[in-house]
């Protein structure tokens, strides 16, 4: 791997929690190659063009399965994004009459589908016991769950304060109760071992930590009985009006985002080494904590900290702080980050925060520019 040093100018884009930028240059090249030269469908036909495309899609599936340490690639299905994957689980599992336990840091990708199921009188939602930073306390899970518990949902890495949840320990406490991990922010940064941990579902996106294009994502699912969210043509069992009962076809109706999958494969194969160290990132957080009037929202312990965090200012609203940063060439995400539950737990609702989310492309000198900008804003207003 070569270092992620293709940026010659300073990189002021700190909104990789929304979508990563830049991408490995091979991502655009491969997407263009598909659109301009390769073409053709996934499956459905026998000619060479279709075989080449299908082979590349299946190679990407295998790469993603390997990333999650899933033994069977067919248990990895392609989706448009993590939200799509979460919805497949929440609306496909038989959850009527059951309790769903969630972490206090869930994104609206989870909260909104659950609200609908709750409004329809089908489920009850309960919160997992957690510390002030939102990290679930596995030792306090004993006795939480019962035969009524239908599912546990955990946001692996918070998109607000970057807290990493102890997903393996949570699954251990859950036993046979299925666990859905929302890995939208974590995959590419944190490792997940579905075989070793027994985690049942992992929803992820391709365009954040994996550095792929938007419109790509996936869902790992263990062998659970789920209704498909979307039904339609799969190129298989075409004589039947019922969806196939086998993977991956059961959950892949319609033509997939082939250009996007070409790009995602390129991102997986050409991922650069990080241009900054873990210490560089933690030192940045520590330096920001020392600035007057700046609060850093993060994990209580550095070992539970993912590579994003939020800040607030006692001197100005988050929208003003974000605007001041933008005037100095720093792009961040302001507000509630589609995670009102998290902000309520962290005490920042409805004011919101300014989120700092770098990528592996950021170099220490990019962090220095961010620090200099915030130093100037916090001391001179």
């Amino acid at each position: 791997m070569s270092p992620a040093s293709s940026f010659h100018r300073l990189n002021g884009y700190f909104d990789c929690g929304a979508t990563s930028f830049p991408k490995p240059r091979e991502v655009a090249r491969e997407m263009s190659r598909y659109l301009d030269k390769v073409g053709g469908p996934y499956g459905r036909s026998f000619y060479h063009r279709a075989i080449e495309v299908s082979g590349l899609v299946e190679e990407t599936r295998s790469l993603l399965a390997a990333l999650l340490k899933a033994r069977r690639p067919e248990n990895l299905i392609f989706t448009h994004n993590a939200t799509h994957a979460v919805n497949i689980v929440l609306k496909g599992l038989a959850l009527t009459g059951r309790e769903i336990w969630i972490s206090p840091l869930e994104h609206n990708a989870v909260a909104r589908p659950l609200r609908r199921l709750k409004q329809e009188g089908r489920i009850r939602v309960r919160f997992l016991p957690a510390a002030a930073d939102g990290r679930v306390i596995p030792e306090r899970l004993a006795g939480c769950f019962s035969r009524r518990t239908g599912l546990i949902v955990v946001n692996h890495q918070s998109n607000v304060n970057g807290v990493i949840q102890p997903i393996d320990e949570i699954k251990k406490q859950a036993g046979d109760i299925p666990v859905l991990v929302d890995a939208a922010q974590s995959l590419g940064h944190q490792s997940i071992d579905v075989e070793g941990s027994g985690i049942d579902f992992v929803a992820f996106t391709g365009h954040k930590g994996l550095l792929g294009p938007t419109g790509t994502g996936g869902l790992y699912l263990a062998d659970h009985l789920l209704k498909p969210l979307i039904e339609g043509g799969t190129g298989s069992r075409s004589e039947s009006s019922a969806m196939p009962d086998f993977l991956p076809d059961r959950f892949e109706a319609g033509t997939p985002n082939i250009a996007g999958i070409f790009g995602l494969r390129a991102a997986l194969l050409h991922r650069p080494a990080a241009a900054h160290s873990r210490d560089d990132f933690l030192n940045l957080m520590q330096a920001l904590r020392r600035l007057p009037g700046i609060q850093v929202l993060a994990a209580a312990s550095a070992e539970h900290q993912g590579e994003l965090f939020s800040i607030t200012s006692t001197a100005m609203e988050s929208s003003t702080l974000g605007m001041r940063l933008y005037e100095k060439g720093i792009e961040t995400r302001l507000g509630l980050h589609c995670a009102p539950l998290a902000h309520r737990h962290l005490g920042t609702f409805p004011r919101g925060t300014v989120r700092i989310s770098p990528s592996i492309y950021h170099r220490p000198r990019d962090f220095d520019i961010l620090l200099a900008a915030l130093t100037a804003i916090s001391t001179r207003g």
Binding site: G43, I51, S54, V57, R61, E74, S238, P248
Partner: protein, 84 residues
């Protein structure tokens, strides 16, 4: 011999495994007279049929071939009259 599969995924991983083991094979459209299956089938010369099935059973679909028997297999074998 024709090998018929339930999904594109299974055709592709089978074709790759046979290619890596040097088994001659050709992707052809599934004859409508046989099945609609997934649109692609693998055509294997008769003299390589036994080796091809052995590879699929031992390294591509080891669990289904041992656990499910013929009914649980993720692929099906069709022998054209010319091969028989």
């Amino acid at each position: 011999m024709l090998l018929l599969f339930q999904s594109t995924h299974d055709v592709i991983i089978s074709e790759k495994a046979l290619r890596q083991r040097g088994i001659p094979r050709r992707v052809i459209p599934v004859p409508r007279s046989i099945s609609s299956q997934c649109g692609m089938a693998l055509e294997i010369p008769a003299e390589h049929a036994e080796a091809a099935v052995g590879i699929l059973d031992s390294s591509v679909f080891p669990e289904t071939s041992s656990e499910g028997g013929e009914a649980g297999k993720r692929y099906h074998i069709f022998i054209p009259e010319s091969d028989a």
